[in-house]
Assembly symmetry: C2
Amino acid sequence: MPPRNSEATGAKGSPTAPAVKAQTGRVLGPRALQTRQRLLVAAAELFRERSALDLSVAEIARRAGTSAATFYQYFADVEEAALHLARQAAEEMPAVLDLIDGPWQGEQGLVTAQRIVEAFMHHWEAHHAVLLIRNLAADHGDPRFQEARRRALSPFLERLAERVAEFQAAGRVSDRLHPFATAAALGSVLERLSAHTQELEHRGVDHDELLATCAGIIHQVVTGGTPSLK
Amino acid sequence: MPPRNSEATGAKGSPTAPAVKAQTGRVLGPRALQTRQRLLVAAAELFRERSALDLSVAEIARRAGTSAATFYQYFADVEEAALHLARQAAEEMPAVLDLIDGPWQGEQGLVTAQRIVEAFMHHWEAHHAVLLIRNLAADHGDPRFQEARRRALSPFLERLAERVAEFQAAGRVSDRLHPFATAAALGSVLERLSAHTQELEHRGVDHDELLATCAGIIHQVVTGGTPSLK
DNA sequence: TGTACATCAGTGAACGCGCGTTCACTGATGTAC
DNA sequence: TGTACATCAGTGAACGCGCGTTCACTGATGTAC
């Protein structure tokens, strides 16, 4: 059996990660990091099952096979753990970003739109519960969650808005549309439809139709009309 | 002083309302209806302040100036009260419905789209907190809230889908778009942008620009392209 | 290699608190005669 | 109009429960020599 956790014995000042700290401010060792991770996983599981921020510290600790007292060594409260999960999920978004810079001209535009939709849906499938909670808390006005959401979505929306502005400059898209508001609207389509695939499948819209529709709308709104109707 | 509650002394079998009942099944008198209403108002206030379903019965009762025991005479739990508020809010939607049957041809189409957006935003301003909670609970899978949401949105989405299908039949809109999925996408734009006016205003998008953008997108997607770019 | 000590990490037990829920009771309102 | 009674509506008090939070303590791990 090879020794696991070999990284724990490695360079002590590894500059890659910003050094996770306990509530007291102490830097965490490998065992503590493991425990903390177990708590996060437990919280994520419970969010998936229940949802909403009505989880109790006791419940999370129980699920993680540890005690509530331990939870308080790493997080001030349940929200802090949720916030961490939300930020973790957001780290995936950059992959979607590059897609926006793909080609939008002609038929290629539709393919680009499709790829974006696929990436978004994938993202939501993987983090459904946490993203839902992030959005709820943000909607309600919690500034920490609002910022987490903004950080995750802003780069995406801004780049998309640039495309809209480009097509506007080329005279293809109506000047009535505010580029950023348009991007935000398309973002909401992506989020909502990704979050509600089941409900729509229940209504007779299968996954591929949903993807095609979503991509079609994005393509049409960004580039201003369909190049060919077929 | 004229006698108030004169309706209470009127026809005992008034068929207009379906007769509200207590948890025990007894039909409620005027005083009880007032108390029940006070509890609902208190719950709505607290939802506006807090949000999420983490309100306690004790809290609602306190706000309503009554006791928890009284709450249980009218509602089984907090969710039941929330559900009632959600259904109440949904009763406003029919007003939006008729707008969809307005003219969509030419420049009139934009006006129609604008009216729809205005009505939707108004609806959300009035019931923000409750609608947010309804959607959250529905998202999480609670079937009662899912149904409440479906009942509120379905007629709207179905009529909108009909318009999309009409423009498809006329060869104006791509066949790639699934009519109902398209309507759902536009519905999500309406809901999200209505729910997030503040956030967008924070980003330099004012209310009118938001309205124009939202209407522009709806018009373009439903009718397939802008009639004139100006 | 072995031993002594320092620090890290985890936890049982305790405390008080506010909640959900129920029940027997009081007070208010309506009705029959 | 007045009185007796029935029903409606509201509530204080009680119960047990699980939670949040803290603290002194135990056990695990690392380190110096």
